[in-house]
């Protein structure tokens, strides 16, 4: 059984930081036609969810509260909201409601199930710099893992290329709505991201496996510096063919593409911060960031987010100093910290990951409120992905992406009962229906 190892080897991601060099105006680079958003679906009918314990991720927990959803948005959250005509009232007494969970680091759809050779579609291991490739174009909307994630209360995922490359390609933020293409799932207005990687994975997959650059961390830094310098000088010129790779890195330096940098060790994160600073910018977040707790004040000062696991440890040398109190320590220091899955298994239980990380904080004597822990899987990942104006909390005007849980979302015994995206019920445990994935049709078997 290779479940754990495979997950790490294949998925562990590389990301490099976001850039902010304004040498290139974003308007100078026309949007590719394929980036056009898909027409939104007509708004769902208004609903009123009544009588639940509501954790908004934006304020205190509301006992016996209601959520009014209209036109796909949160219209109101509070106690004893009035039900007007034409609003379907749904009794959820005894249940809990939270915002939909956002996984800021997923490879669903690019490493789909079953884990066959041809479903390994997330690492373009033909060269360490691939800034022009887009995870969206590998994404398979029929990945059976998507429905399991939804059943775990996940409403949005940030899909990234893998971490083989120093610059692995562009990530995309998707909503888990039924669709036939990634483009239909893309969250409107979500910034494009860029996956970069530090450390062991590029070393292992190039230097050690192929005898190619980079073999060392020092080469990783040197190679990246040169690419960023080239991008700084890049201009779109009339009569010259456009270079989409330089184009993307230039957007990264301009801050238009958010750099999401896979990096484990404290020393490497500090080297990365210095390298980005040379170009006047910083990554949006370090992902995996297992030693972020060692440099939490520096990360807080730099305004760089940290995307971490609750209890992964030891799989690689750069995971040996992982501590389960990482998230709590970071939160205490004021770092925007999010939990991620990086796994088609853990994505089904991110609420439990938050609970474990919260408990690890308590065990270490760090007080973490339940509201703060909820933000690790909702509001904070929304900020890290640049979509916090739209999702991540239950506040009027936000998308009605929410989960009705059978009980306390931090209990192992609790299950997501209903999941809504933009006010549409996209999952109902009591009435699951046929498999969502075409692949699974006829395969699940009867109970």
């Amino acid at each position: 059984m290779l479940r754990g190892v495979t997950a790490l080897l294949v998925f562990a991601v590389a990301a490099l930081g976001c850039g902010g060099l304004a040498s290139l105006k974003s308007e100078s680079v026309p949007a590719a036609a394929s980036r056009a958003p898909v027409e939104p679906a007509p708004a769902a009918a208004p609903i009123l969810l009544r009588g639940a314990t509501i954790m908004t991720a934006a304020g205190p927990t509301i006992e016996r509260g209601d959520v009014l959803v209209r036109d796909g948005r949160i219209a109101a959250v509070g106690a004893e909201l009035a039900a007007s005509a034409g609003v379907e009232a749904i009794d959820v007494a005894g249940r809990w409601i939270t915002p939909g969970i956002i996984d800021p680091h997923s490879h669903l759809g690019v490493y789909s199930m079953p884990a066959t050779t041809s479903n390994a579609d997330g690492n373009e291991m033909t060269g360490p710099f691939k800034p022009d490739i887009q995870a969206e174009h590998s994404f398979w909307p029929q990945d059976p893992a998507i429905e399991r994630a939804l059943a775990g209360g996940v409403t949005s995922i940030h899909v990234l290329p893998g971490s083989a490359n120093l610059v692995g390609g562009q990530g995309v933020t998707l909503r888990l709505v039924p669709a036939l293409s990634a483009r239909e799932m893309r969250m409107p207005g979500a910034p494009t991201t860029m996956k970069l990687a530090c450390g062991e994975n590029p070393m292992r997959l190039y230097g050690q496996a192929k005898g190619a650059e980079p073999q060392t961390r020092m080469a990783e830094v040197a190679l990246l510096r040169q690419k960023l310098e080239n991008a700084r000088a890049y201009r779109v010129e009339a009569g010259k063919p456009r270079d989409f790779a330089s184009d993307a890195l230039a957007k990264l330096l301009a801050g238009e593409i958010l750099a999401q940098n896979h990096c484990y060790r404290a020393d490497e994160m500090l080297v990365r911060l210095d390298l980005f600073a040379e170009f006047g910018t910083a990554p949006r977040a370090f992902h995996h960031a297992v030693e972020a707790y060692k440099i939490r004040d520096r990360l807080a000062q730099a305004g760089v987010g940290a995307v971490v696991w609750a209890d992964w440890a030891g799989l690689k040398m750069e995971l040996v100093d992982a501590v389960p109190a990482n998230a709590a320590l970071l939160d205490e220091a004021g770092v925007r910290v999010a939990l991620h899955s990086d796994s088609p298994y853990d994505i089904q239980r991110l609420n439990q990951e938050a609970a474990k990380a919260m408990a690890a904080g308590s065990r270490a004597g760090i007080a973490v409120s339940r509201e703060a822990a909820l933000r690790w899987i909702t509001a904070n990942p929304a900020w890290i992905l640049g979509v916090d104006a739209r999702v991540g909390t239950l506040e009027p005007g936000k998308d009605a992406d929410l989960v009705v849980w059978s009980g306390d979302p931090f209990s192992v015994y609790t299950r997501a009962e209903q999941v809504y995206i933009e006010g549409r019920r996209v999952y109902e445990r009591a009435n699951p229906g046929p498999p969502r994935s075409d692949f699974e049709l006829g395969l699940r078997g009867a109970k």
């Binding site: 059984m1 190892v5 501590v323 320590l329 609790t414 699940r444």
Partner: protein, 393 residues
């Protein structure tokens, strides 16, 4: 000197939990357990009121303690390279167990006191060891099961090669047939008066124990049709078999129950991860249990995740497995299935492997406060705790 743990809720593994109970430990064993039992004179009394005590958890099918860092091949000790002979029944995981492995303290902090440590790779991978997670005298049984894998990947990662399943069954049948011939002809074989056999004498001696029903055969297999084939083989050779993995075992739960074959289920493996596991589902444990199959919950992924065992049991409860069965599936059942006497329950005479929790042990917000292994208290502090403390100052 005796120790008395007083005031906790105790899950003994037999009947409902005892409230406000006392456990008396004398030497390596439990001397007595009971509600409101008066500690014996002279015993060291430890007040654990408000806490919950369970038998120590058992990690089955793990490579715990046989590696330090999974992706550093030099630290991976119980997995032979693909170039090695696929039949290696004589290999003993016990020889590679290292109580000082980086993986061990983290597992202990997750409440695990014992493990059935398995070698990996090949078709007949070798013998699993039953160990306690103690610094000394850890070995309870050096040869607790013989591990067989159906359709094994031959490389450290990646999908199995073409024909892996056919090759597995071919080598398994060939090895068993040779072992049966060897049974009555050991002398002639060793004096070269028998036809050549496909495997070495050392391997044959181990298979001989399996044919004598002295050694359990733990078959790692997922696909329902393969499980039926394994049941056939078990009948043909009168083997004592445990299914390990069992992604699709729920489909043949009735057959398994009739054959009295337990299943050590990879508890989190609910995805159609391969063509042998397309019908994986999150409630497999509940379905098997209700069909009368003895269920062990196991984490068969990386041993770096061994501490999640109790979380997997909690999730099995949420998916319909009764609470008592879930707790038993990580304590009493594995000990009973692998014949490790006096283990997995808390009763007079049992080995004193137990964990003190600050709440429901299956709940993710609970943690282990204290632990006794063979009657000795073992520290639960990890390198992780030391790092946290160093960087919090």
């Amino acid at each position: 000197m005796a120790i008395a743990l007083v005031g906790a809720t105790v899950h003994t593994g037999q009947g409902p939990p005892l409230e406000n109970a006392t456990i008396v430990i004398d030497g390596a064993r439990v001397h007595a357990v009971g509600a409101k039992l008066r500690p014996p004179d002279g015993a060291t009394v430890i007040d654990v009121s408000g806490m919950v005590i369970t038998p120590g958890l058992v990690a089955v099918g793990t490579r715990l303690g046989t590696l330090d860092v999974e992706l550093e091949s030099a630290s991976v000790e119980a997995t032979l390279p693909p170039s090695a002979d696929p039949v290696r029944a004589a290999l003993r995981a016990a020889d590679t167990w290292n109580p000082a492995s980086l993986t061990v303290p983290i597992a202990r902090a997750g409440g695990i006191t014992s493990a059935l440590v398995m070698p990996e790779g090949g078709q007949i991978s070798g013998q699993a060891a039953w160990v306690d997670l103690a610094e000394k005298e850890w070995l309870r049984r050096g040869s607790a099961a013989l591990r067989v894998e159906i359709g094994a990947p031959l490389a450290a990662t990646g999908p199995p090669p073409a024909g892996a399943r056919a090759a597995s069954f071919l080598r398994l049948r060939e090895s068993l047939a040779d072992a049966r011939l060897y049974r009555g002809n050991r002398g002639p074989f060793l004096t070269n008066k028998l036809r050549a056999l496909s495997i070495s004498a050392a391997d044959l001696d181990v298979l001989d124990r399996a044919l004598a029903r002295d050694l359990i055969v733990a078959v790692e297999v997922d696909r329902a049709s393969d499980i039926l084939t394994v049941i056939e083989l078990a009948n043909e050779y009168a083997l004592r078999v445990v299914i390990v993995g069992g992604a699709e075992a729920w489909l043949v739960a009735g057959e398994l129950a009739r054959a009295e074959i337990p299943v050590a289920l990879d508890a989190f493996a609910d995805l159609p991860s391969s063509f042998s596991a397309l019908r994986s589902r999150p409630d497999s444990a509940a379905l098997l249990h209700s069909a009368g199959v003895r269920v062990i919950l196991a984490d068969l992924g990386s041993p770096h995740f061994a501490h999640r065992l109790r979380q997997s049991a909690g999730n099995a409860v949420a998916a319909g497995l009764p609470y008592d069965a879930a707790l038993a599936s990580i304590t009493r059942v594995p000990a009973a299935v692998f014949g490790i006497a006096d283990t997995g329950t808390i009763r007079a005479g049992a080995v004193a492997n137990l964990v003190v929790w600050n709440g429901d042990p299956l709940e993710v917000t609970t943690w282990a406060e204290r632990m006794w292994i063979r009657g000795q208290e073992v520290p639960l502090e990890t390198r992780q705790d030391l790092l946290t403390r160093r960087y919090r100052q």
